[in-house]
């Protein structure tokens, strides 16, 4: 580990505690960055995020867009020669960003996740139409992408009513710590 001036070892230690990943093992071969289908949407390449952790640059790591743009497709972890579970690192950083209340680099993506979990909390299952509507309302953007939404409705790809589970107590248990 090469902690920069003012950098701290704590971030690497924290993430190691939740994922078991030893950050000294990254060789920066960039196989992850070369394979990532979403690199263009990110501010730091996946290996660069690991570099931020190695340098102990917590603020940069928690505020970067990469941790939100990463969808966990595992293209990187499948080809990483050191078998680093990179999506698990992204998960961990995201949790930490939320916990610390830092400015979220990709509020739309956070908003989407929140709306998905809102419908799961209500029905026990996701309800795509409601997710889309609430997501769009929160974003104050009802018109963009309208064509796709209408096409989906026309082709009956968005059920109007949600599919629900019966056991409401189970949902309470699942969300009991929220």
């Amino acid at each position: 580990m090469i902690n920069q001036d003012g950098g701290s070892q704590a971030l690497a230690d924290d993430i190691k505690a939740s994922t078991g990943i030893n950050f000294n093992s990254c060789l920066h071969c960039k196989t992850c960055a070369n394979g990532c289908p979403f690199l263009e949407g990110m501010d730091y390449a996946p290996n660069a995020v690991i570099r931020l952790i190695q340098f102990g640059m917590e603020e940069e790591a928690l505020k970067c867009s990469t941790i939100w743009v990463c969808v966990g497709c595992n293209t990187c972890s499948s080809c990483c020669p050191m078998a680093i579970d990179i999506p698990a690192v992204m998960d961990s950083l995201r949790h930490k960003a939320i916990e610390k209340g830092v400015k979220i680099a990709e509020p739309d993506i956070m908003n989407f996740h929140t709306e998905v979990l809102n419908t799961v909390k209500k029905y026990g299952r996701t309800h795509k139409l409601e997710i889309m509507m609430r997501y769009k309302f929160k974003k104050m953007d009802l018109l963009s992408d309208m064509g796709v939404g209408l096409k989906m409705l026309k082709k009956r790809k968005l059920d109007l009513t949600p599919s629900k589970i019966q056991d409401k107590k189970a949902i309470e248990k699942i969300f009991r710590k929220n």
């Binding site: 979403f38 263009e40 949407g41 969808v71 999506p87 956070m110 799961v120 796709v148 699942i174 929220n178």
Partner: protein, 296 residues
């Protein structure tokens, strides 16, 4: 199962397999054509599917992204609902990853097991087998249900698309990998398999909503590479990938995207395509008519 020829007329002689079935939100609430054709296929090959009673969302991409507690509890409850003694079959690759990796974690971790047993008031079932839909092809023999399987799909040029979720992430790296099942099965049924380099490329999942431009780019790349390689259609293993490949493709005259289950059911003689195909954005009917796979 032993190979048989000439047993087609009477497939009652095969023992019916019984699985509990986790459909998941994508199949249950948007990919209806996927569910309908999948149920049809399973029935045709003597598999009884019993829907997991009162199942809940697996957590999808969102729970593990922002709430680790909920991400743990959602799959746990599904595991607690699974009946003993029969495998739990999951058709959605993403649900499979969430549920199976949680199952394996509980199996290894004493504290997690205790937490599971306290929360769901049930002993953890160490014997539960959690399988993907593809596992069926290791347990049945398609030739048993088809007179001349090699004639069924009439050389339709298909590009199999697995998506990323069947690539077995680090948590599941010692589990079975199913790459090749679609190629093997569809080739056996008389399809012409097109190879291209994008069969396991991620479809963009929820970026389709939150960053449509990014998703559009990867989707166009996948579909155009399949077309360049000469495919007449793409065949998907995942209802969510199917949706993204259809709604985010902005190419002119893209090829249709079929669910694997639709082609399987058609090859085994299903006649209810009229319920499935109107739900497709790119109409597969002209292609299938041209190939003589459906009659006007």
């Amino acid at each position: 199962m032993k190979k048989s020829s000439g047993k087609i007329e009477n497939n009652r002689q095969f023992e019916r397999l019984k699985f509990s079935f986790f459909p998941g939100c994508s199949l249950k609430a948007s990919g209806h054509e996927n569910t309908m054709s999948l149920l049809k296929f399973c029935d045709r090959v003597n598999i009884d599917l019993i829907e997991l009673e009162d199942w809940n969302c697996c957590g999808s991409s969102s729970a593990h992204s922002v709430d680790s507690e909920v991400a743990k509890n959602l799959p746990m409850r599904n595991i607690s609902l699974a009946p003993k003694g029969i495998p739990l079959m999951i058709a959605c690759p993403s649900c499979l990853i969430r549920i199976k990796s949680m199952y394996l974690k509980i199996k290894k971790d004493k504290n997690l097991r205790k937490e599971y047993e306290n929360l769901w008031e049930k002993p953890f079932d160490d014997e539960l087998e959690i399988i993907h839909f593809f596992e069926i092809f290791n347990r049945i023999n398609l030739e048993d249900y088809n007179d001349h399987p090699e004639e069924k799909l009439k050389k339709l040029k298909v590009a199999p698309y697995y998506g990323c979720m069947l690539s077995m992430p680090p948590d599941l790296r010692f589990e079975k990998n199913y790459y090749g099942i679609m190629e093997k099965t569809l080739a056996k049924l008389g399809a012409d398999i097109i190879s291209y380099g994008y069969g396991t490329r991620c479809c963009g999942t929820y970026l389709s909503v939150a960053k449509p431009q990014v998703a559009q780019k990867v989707v166009n790349e996948i579909v155009s590479k399949a077309m360049e390689a000469g495919a007449e259609c793409l065949v998907t293993a995942c209802a969510m990938c199917h949706l993204n490949l259809e709604i985010r493709c902005s190419l002119e005259n893209p090829i249709p995207v079929l669910h694997f289950s639709e082609l399987l059911s058609m090859a085994l003689g299903a006649q209810d395509q009229k319920k499935w195909f109107p739900r497709h954005i790119v109409d597969p009917v002209p292609l299938l008519k041209k190939r003589g796979l459906i009659i006007a």
